[in-house]
Amino acid sequence: MVTFQFIPFHEIENLGPAKRVNKLLKIVKENKIVLMEGRLKKQEEADLIEITMEEISSKFKGIELSVVYPDKSKQDFGQKVKGTFANILLGDRQGMTIIGPASVVKKIEQNPDKIELFTKDSKTTTPTRRYRKRK
Protein backbone atom coordinates (compact mmCIF):
# COMPACT_ATOMS: atom_id res chain seq x y z
CA MET A 1 0.00 0.00 0.00
CA VAL A 2 1.23 3.48 -0.82
CA THR A 3 0.07 6.43 1.28
CA PHE A 4 -0.08 9.96 -0.09
CA GLN A 5 -0.34 12.92 2.26
CA PHE A 6 -1.52 16.24 0.93
CA ILE A 7 0.08 19.36 2.41
CA PRO A 8 -1.85 22.53 1.58
CA PHE A 9 0.28 25.62 1.15
CA HIS A 10 -1.22 27.35 4.20
CA GLU A 11 0.26 24.61 6.44
CA ILE A 12 3.82 25.62 5.57
CA GLU A 13 3.22 29.24 4.59
CA ASN A 14 4.31 30.75 7.91
CA LEU A 15 7.13 28.34 8.64
CA GLY A 16 10.79 29.29 8.22
CA PRO A 17 12.89 27.40 5.65
CA ALA A 18 14.33 24.88 8.16
CA LYS A 19 10.93 24.09 9.72
CA ARG A 20 9.34 23.70 6.28
CA VAL A 21 11.96 21.24 5.14
CA ASN A 22 11.90 19.30 8.42
CA LYS A 23 8.10 19.04 8.37
CA LEU A 24 8.14 17.56 4.87
CA LEU A 25 11.01 15.22 5.64
CA LYS A 26 9.31 13.98 8.83
CA ILE A 27 6.29 12.85 6.78
CA VAL A 28 8.50 11.22 4.14
CA LYS A 29 10.38 9.31 6.86
CA GLU A 30 7.02 7.82 7.88
CA ASN A 31 7.07 6.17 4.42
CA LYS A 32 4.41 8.49 3.03
CA ILE A 33 4.51 10.33 -0.29
CA VAL A 34 4.04 14.07 0.16
CA LEU A 35 1.88 15.98 -2.31
CA MET A 36 2.51 19.59 -1.47
CA GLU A 37 0.55 22.49 -2.92
CA GLY A 38 3.02 24.94 -4.47
CA ARG A 39 6.76 24.63 -4.40
CA LEU A 40 9.74 25.28 -2.19
CA LYS A 41 12.16 28.10 -2.92
CA LYS A 42 15.32 27.14 -4.79
CA GLN A 43 17.45 27.46 -1.66
CA GLU A 44 14.92 25.34 0.29
CA GLU A 45 15.13 22.61 -2.36
CA ALA A 46 18.92 22.57 -1.89
CA ASP A 47 18.40 22.55 1.91
CA LEU A 48 16.03 19.60 1.52
CA ILE A 49 18.71 17.62 -0.32
CA GLU A 50 21.34 18.64 2.23
CA ILE A 51 19.23 17.66 5.26
CA THR A 52 18.19 14.42 3.52
CA MET A 53 21.86 13.51 3.14
CA GLU A 54 22.46 14.22 6.84
CA GLU A 55 19.60 11.86 7.75
CA ILE A 56 20.62 8.95 5.53
CA SER A 57 21.03 5.67 7.39
CA SER A 58 20.59 1.96 6.70
CA LYS A 59 16.82 2.49 7.15
CA PHE A 60 16.36 5.83 5.40
CA LYS A 61 17.84 5.75 1.88
CA GLY A 62 16.88 9.24 0.78
CA ILE A 63 14.09 10.77 -1.25
CA GLU A 64 12.72 11.15 -4.75
CA LEU A 65 11.62 14.67 -5.55
CA SER A 66 9.71 16.27 -8.37
CA VAL A 67 8.06 19.63 -8.94
CA VAL A 68 5.30 20.30 -11.44
CA TYR A 69 5.11 23.95 -12.33
CA PRO A 70 3.20 25.78 -15.03
CA ASP A 71 5.37 26.66 -18.02
CA LYS A 72 5.32 30.46 -17.88
CA SER A 73 6.57 30.77 -21.44
CA LYS A 74 3.26 29.25 -22.59
CA GLN A 75 1.15 31.71 -20.56
CA ASP A 76 -0.33 34.81 -22.18
CA PHE A 77 0.21 38.27 -20.71
CA GLY A 78 -3.03 38.20 -18.70
CA GLN A 79 -2.19 34.87 -17.09
CA LYS A 80 1.30 36.09 -16.19
CA VAL A 81 -0.10 39.22 -14.53
CA LYS A 82 -2.71 37.17 -12.61
CA GLY A 83 -0.04 34.69 -11.53
CA THR A 84 2.29 37.45 -10.34
CA PHE A 85 -0.47 39.13 -8.28
CA ALA A 86 -1.57 35.79 -6.83
CA ASN A 87 2.04 35.07 -5.81
CA ILE A 88 2.37 38.47 -4.13
CA LEU A 89 -0.93 38.15 -2.25
CA LEU A 90 -1.03 34.44 -1.45
CA GLY A 91 2.53 33.13 -1.87
CA ASP A 92 3.76 30.85 -4.64
CA ARG A 93 0.95 28.28 -4.60
CA GLN A 94 1.26 27.41 -8.25
CA GLY A 95 2.34 23.91 -9.12
CA MET A 96 2.79 20.88 -6.92
CA THR A 97 5.74 19.24 -5.18
CA ILE A 98 5.98 15.49 -4.85
CA ILE A 99 8.43 14.00 -2.34
CA GLY A 100 8.61 10.29 -1.69
CA PRO A 101 10.89 8.05 0.34
CA ALA A 102 13.49 6.25 -1.80
CA SER A 103 12.48 2.96 -0.15
CA VAL A 104 8.98 3.32 -1.67
CA VAL A 105 9.51 5.41 -4.80
CA LYS A 106 11.89 3.90 -7.35
CA LYS A 107 11.95 6.98 -9.56
CA ILE A 108 9.89 9.91 -10.74
CA GLU A 109 10.12 10.67 -14.43
CA GLN A 110 9.23 14.15 -15.44
CA ASN A 111 8.87 15.85 -18.77
CA PRO A 112 7.05 19.05 -19.54
CA ASP A 113 3.65 17.37 -20.01
CA LYS A 114 3.47 14.59 -17.46
CA ILE A 115 4.90 13.02 -14.33
CA GLU A 116 5.32 9.27 -13.91
CA LEU A 117 5.92 7.88 -10.46
CA PHE A 118 7.32 4.37 -10.20
CA THR A 119 7.02 2.58 -6.89
CA LYS A 120 9.05 -0.40 -5.75
CA ASP A 121 7.05 -3.59 -5.97
CA SER A 122 7.46 -5.30 -2.61
CA LYS A 123 7.63 -8.80 -4.13
CA THR A 124 9.70 -8.33 -7.25
CA THR A 125 11.40 -4.97 -6.65
CA THR A 126 10.52 -4.24 -10.27
CA PRO A 127 9.38 -0.63 -10.78
CA THR A 128 5.61 -0.41 -11.22
CA ARG A 129 3.77 2.61 -12.56
CA ARG A 130 1.28 3.69 -9.90
CA TYR A 131 0.42 7.26 -10.51
CA ARG A 132 0.22 9.59 -13.43
CA LYS A 133 -0.69 13.22 -13.43
CA ARG A 134 -1.20 15.44 -16.41
CA LYS A 135 -0.78 19.19 -16.09
Partner: protein, 210 residues
Amino acid sequence: MGFFKDLLSKLKFNPFARKSHVKLGLYGPPNGGKSTLANRICQDWLGEEMSSVSHIAHETREIKIKEQVNIKNKNGKELTFSLVDTPGIATRIDYEDFLKRGMKKKQAKERAKEATKGVIDSIKWLDDMECVVVVLDSTQDPYSQVNITIIGNLQARNIPVLIVANKVDLKRSNIDVIKAAFPQYEVVGVSAKYGKHVEDFYEMLFKIAK
Protein backbone atom coordinates in the same frame (compact mmCIF):
# COMPACT_ATOMS: atom_id res chain seq x y z
CA MET B 1 52.72 52.11 -7.12
CA GLY B 2 52.30 49.32 -4.53
CA PHE B 3 50.75 51.82 -2.12
CA PHE B 4 48.09 52.80 -4.71
CA LYS B 5 47.36 49.13 -5.51
CA ASP B 6 46.85 48.38 -1.80
CA LEU B 7 44.69 51.43 -1.34
CA LEU B 8 42.48 50.64 -4.34
CA SER B 9 42.27 47.03 -3.23
CA LYS B 10 41.03 48.13 0.19
CA LEU B 11 38.44 50.26 -1.56
CA LYS B 12 37.47 47.14 -3.57
CA PHE B 13 38.35 48.92 -6.79
CA ASN B 14 41.45 47.70 -8.55
CA PRO B 15 41.87 48.53 -12.22
CA PHE B 16 45.16 46.59 -12.23
CA ALA B 17 43.49 43.34 -11.25
CA ARG B 18 43.06 40.71 -13.99
CA LYS B 19 39.50 39.45 -14.04
CA SER B 20 40.57 36.36 -15.90
CA HIS B 21 41.16 34.23 -12.77
CA VAL B 22 37.88 32.61 -11.79
CA LYS B 23 36.74 29.72 -9.63
CA LEU B 24 35.17 27.28 -12.04
CA GLY B 25 33.05 24.48 -10.60
CA LEU B 26 32.03 21.23 -12.25
CA TYR B 27 28.58 20.27 -10.98
CA GLY B 28 25.99 17.66 -11.85
CA PRO B 29 24.46 14.34 -10.91
CA PRO B 30 26.66 11.29 -10.22
CA ASN B 31 28.22 9.54 -13.22
CA GLY B 32 27.67 12.44 -15.61
CA GLY B 33 31.39 12.64 -16.33
CA LYS B 34 32.54 15.59 -14.18
CA SER B 35 35.83 13.96 -13.20
CA THR B 36 36.42 12.72 -16.76
CA LEU B 37 35.98 16.30 -17.98
CA ALA B 38 38.24 17.59 -15.18
CA ASN B 39 40.89 15.09 -16.27
CA ARG B 40 40.47 16.08 -19.91
CA ILE B 41 40.98 19.78 -19.06
CA CYS B 42 44.00 19.03 -16.87
CA GLN B 43 45.52 16.66 -19.44
CA ASP B 44 45.05 19.20 -22.24
CA TRP B 45 46.50 22.16 -20.37
CA LEU B 46 48.65 20.83 -17.52
CA GLY B 47 49.62 17.41 -18.86
CA GLU B 48 48.38 15.60 -15.75
CA GLU B 49 45.18 14.01 -14.40
CA MET B 50 43.12 15.41 -11.55
CA SER B 51 40.62 12.81 -10.32
CA SER B 52 40.03 9.08 -10.45
CA VAL B 53 37.05 7.88 -12.49
CA SER B 54 34.85 4.81 -12.21
CA HIS B 55 31.66 3.31 -13.63
CA ILE B 56 30.40 2.98 -10.06
CA ALA B 57 28.56 6.12 -8.94
CA HIS B 58 30.01 8.45 -6.28
CA GLU B 59 33.66 7.82 -7.17
CA THR B 60 34.36 11.49 -6.33
CA ARG B 61 33.32 11.94 -2.72
CA GLU B 62 35.25 15.04 -1.79
CA ILE B 63 35.88 18.41 -3.40
CA LYS B 64 39.03 18.47 -5.52
CA ILE B 65 40.71 21.66 -6.61
CA LYS B 66 43.34 22.29 -9.25
CA GLU B 67 44.76 25.81 -9.01
CA GLN B 68 46.08 27.91 -11.88
CA VAL B 69 44.64 26.14 -14.90
CA ASN B 70 45.53 28.36 -17.82
CA ILE B 71 43.79 27.89 -21.17
CA LYS B 72 44.17 29.77 -24.47
CA ASN B 73 41.73 30.20 -27.32
CA LYS B 74 42.33 30.53 -31.07
CA ASN B 75 42.70 34.32 -30.79
CA GLY B 76 45.43 33.98 -28.18
CA LYS B 77 43.21 35.11 -25.29
CA GLU B 78 44.03 33.50 -21.97
CA LEU B 79 41.80 32.40 -19.13
CA THR B 80 43.14 31.26 -15.78
CA PHE B 81 40.89 29.44 -13.34
CA SER B 82 40.85 27.23 -10.29
CA LEU B 83 39.08 24.07 -11.34
CA VAL B 84 36.79 22.59 -8.70
CA ASP B 85 35.63 19.01 -9.26
CA THR B 86 32.65 18.28 -7.00
CA PRO B 87 30.92 15.07 -5.86
CA GLY B 88 27.73 14.29 -7.78
CA ILE B 89 24.54 15.64 -6.24
CA ALA B 90 21.86 13.03 -5.52
CA THR B 91 18.73 12.79 -3.39
CA ARG B 92 19.16 9.10 -2.56
CA ILE B 93 22.16 7.01 -1.57
CA ASP B 94 21.70 3.33 -0.81
CA TYR B 95 24.71 1.28 0.22
CA GLU B 96 22.98 -1.78 -1.25
CA ASP B 97 23.50 -0.28 -4.72
CA PHE B 98 27.25 -0.56 -4.13
CA LEU B 99 26.84 -4.16 -2.93
CA LYS B 100 25.27 -4.94 -6.31
CA ARG B 101 28.43 -3.58 -7.95
CA GLY B 102 30.52 -6.16 -6.12
CA MET B 103 31.62 -4.23 -3.04
CA LYS B 104 31.82 -5.76 0.41
CA LYS B 105 29.26 -4.60 2.99
CA LYS B 106 31.71 -2.58 5.08
CA GLN B 107 33.22 -0.93 2.00
CA ALA B 108 29.75 -0.19 0.57
CA LYS B 109 28.54 1.41 3.81
CA GLU B 110 31.69 3.51 4.03
CA ARG B 111 31.29 4.66 0.41
CA ALA B 112 27.64 5.57 1.04
CA LYS B 113 28.59 7.55 4.14
CA GLU B 114 31.32 9.43 2.30
CA ALA B 115 28.98 10.04 -0.64
CA THR B 116 26.36 11.71 1.59
CA LYS B 117 29.05 14.02 2.98
CA GLY B 118 30.20 14.73 -0.58
CA VAL B 119 26.71 15.86 -1.62
CA ILE B 120 26.51 18.19 1.39
CA ASP B 121 29.93 19.68 0.55
CA SER B 122 28.96 20.20 -3.10
CA ILE B 123 25.87 22.17 -2.06
CA LYS B 124 27.80 24.23 0.50
CA TRP B 125 30.44 25.11 -2.12
CA LEU B 126 27.84 26.55 -4.52
CA ASP B 127 28.22 29.96 -2.86
CA ASP B 128 31.97 30.02 -3.57
CA MET B 129 31.67 29.47 -7.33
CA GLU B 130 32.10 32.26 -9.84
CA CYS B 131 31.27 30.18 -12.87
CA VAL B 132 29.80 26.67 -13.16
CA VAL B 133 29.83 23.97 -15.78
CA VAL B 134 26.91 21.59 -15.26
CA VAL B 135 27.90 18.20 -16.65
CA LEU B 136 24.98 16.03 -17.75
CA ASP B 137 24.98 12.56 -19.26
CA SER B 138 23.37 13.13 -22.67
CA THR B 139 22.06 9.54 -22.73
CA GLN B 140 19.93 10.21 -19.63
CA ASP B 141 16.66 12.08 -19.12
CA PRO B 142 17.65 15.68 -18.19
CA TYR B 143 14.28 16.49 -16.53
CA SER B 144 15.38 15.29 -13.11
CA GLN B 145 14.68 17.48 -10.13
CA VAL B 146 18.35 17.32 -9.09
CA ASN B 147 19.36 18.97 -12.38
CA ILE B 148 16.57 21.53 -12.06
CA THR B 149 17.52 22.27 -8.43
CA ILE B 150 21.23 22.69 -9.22
CA ILE B 151 20.58 25.02 -12.15
CA GLY B 152 17.85 26.90 -10.27
CA ASN B 153 20.20 27.54 -7.36
CA LEU B 154 22.95 28.79 -9.69
CA GLN B 155 20.44 31.07 -11.40
CA ALA B 156 19.28 32.42 -8.02
CA ARG B 157 22.91 33.23 -7.16
CA ASN B 158 23.55 34.89 -10.55
CA ILE B 159 26.38 32.46 -11.29
CA PRO B 160 27.10 32.03 -15.04
CA VAL B 161 26.28 28.51 -16.22
CA LEU B 162 27.43 26.41 -19.16
CA ILE B 163 25.77 23.04 -19.68
CA VAL B 164 27.92 20.23 -21.02
CA ALA B 165 26.02 17.38 -22.66
CA ASN B 166 28.61 14.67 -22.12
CA LYS B 167 28.98 11.21 -23.67
CA VAL B 168 28.03 12.28 -27.22
CA ASP B 169 30.08 9.33 -28.47
CA LEU B 170 27.30 7.01 -27.29
CA LYS B 171 24.45 6.08 -29.65
CA ARG B 172 21.69 6.95 -27.18
CA SER B 173 23.06 10.47 -26.70
CA ASN B 174 20.49 13.22 -27.32
CA ILE B 175 21.66 16.81 -26.95
CA ASP B 176 18.40 18.24 -28.27
CA VAL B 177 16.48 17.00 -25.22
CA ILE B 178 18.94 18.81 -22.95
CA LYS B 179 18.66 21.98 -25.05
CA ALA B 180 14.86 21.75 -24.84
CA ALA B 181 14.99 21.21 -21.06
CA PHE B 182 17.22 24.24 -20.40
CA PRO B 183 16.60 26.64 -23.31
CA GLN B 184 17.96 29.67 -21.46
CA TYR B 185 21.49 28.22 -21.26
CA GLU B 186 24.30 27.47 -23.70
CA VAL B 187 24.64 23.73 -24.21
CA VAL B 188 27.75 22.17 -25.71
CA GLY B 189 27.96 18.49 -26.59
CA VAL B 190 31.26 16.74 -25.87
CA SER B 191 32.79 13.37 -25.21
CA ALA B 192 35.13 14.09 -22.32
CA LYS B 193 36.43 10.53 -22.50
CA TYR B 194 37.53 10.74 -26.14
CA GLY B 195 38.07 14.50 -26.38
CA LYS B 196 35.36 14.99 -28.99
CA HIS B 197 34.28 18.65 -29.42
CA VAL B 198 36.32 19.81 -26.41
CA GLU B 199 37.60 22.74 -28.50
CA ASP B 200 33.99 24.01 -28.70
CA PHE B 201 33.73 23.58 -24.94
CA TYR B 202 36.85 25.71 -24.35
CA GLU B 203 35.51 28.44 -26.64
CA MET B 204 32.25 28.48 -24.69
CA LEU B 205 34.17 28.74 -21.43
CA PHE B 206 35.65 32.05 -22.61
CA LYS B 207 32.14 33.30 -23.34
CA ILE B 208 30.64 32.51 -19.95
CA ALA B 209 33.69 33.39 -17.85
CA LYS B 210 34.17 36.90 -19.28
